[in-house]
Amino acid sequence: MDLLYFAWVREAVGTGHERIDLPDGIGTIAALLDWLAARDPRHAAAFADRTRLRAAIDQRFVALDAPLDDAREVAIFPPVTGG
């Protein structure tokens, strides 16, 4: 699975892209964030305040409790500020 990070999430995690093998039993984005945070302190710091995070699965915006199903690409980022 491809993981993408943008803006300050990217800076906090330390990379804009990583590829992972999703372990069994991780069914939602929230669970994925927990698993990533447990592996690495930078991820833990980036994901500490979930209210500041937004997500997309395969380039579609979803809530953090959205099921991962057969997601190929998950993106984690702050609320958008374009325009």
Binding site: A7, A56, F61, A75, P78, V80, T81, G82, G83
Partner: protein, 151 residues
């Protein structure tokens, strides 16, 4: 006609206006966002989500075209580094009548601000910080939901 462009190049308003005026639709509305020179920002950097950004903008444009029966809609958003006085975004809409063009233009810029994956980072002097999302922007975008759901 729908045209979406996300590019690090300066936005060429004259060319985009010519495109939308060529539709000879009667009414053309535009909104141009410009990096403000009055609040101490020396550099603005725009990050985006390649692919997802273009898809989001195309979806917004298509919904506006369908709802207001637009003749055309153009969204051009600049990415990368830009300076005060430079254009960040251009929205242009064309319709037979002025209310459709004006309302669609306002809707597109309001929705773009909350629904398209762009992130702004400002540099003021030596300090660089990511811009926070504004509650007012969400309120502005939300008021179009009722409009767009009335068919």
């Amino acid at each position: 006609m729908i045209r979406v462009l996300v590019s690090p190049e300066p936005i060429d308003v004259t060319t985009e206006l010519a495109r939308i005026e060529a539709l000879e639709a009667g009414a053309v509305a535009t909104f141009t966002g410009i990096v403000r020179a009055d609040d101490g920002v020396s550099l603005l950097d725009l990050e985006h989500y390649p692919g997802a950004t273009e898809t989001a903008l195309e979806t917004l444009a298509a919904e506006a075209v369908a709802h207001w029966r637009l003749t055309g809609a153009i969204i051009v958003h600049r990415i990368g580094a830009m300076r005060p006085g430079e254009r960040i975004v251009l929205v242009a809409t064309a319709a037979s009548h002025r209310a459709a063009a004006l309302d669609a233009c306002a809707c597109l810029i309001d929705r773009l601000k909350t629904e398209a994956p762009f992130w702004k980072r400002e540099t003021r002097g030596r300090e660089t910080r990511w811009v926070d999302a504004r509650d007012a922007d969400h309120a502005a975008a939300d008021r179009w939901k009722t409009t767009l759901s009335d068919q």
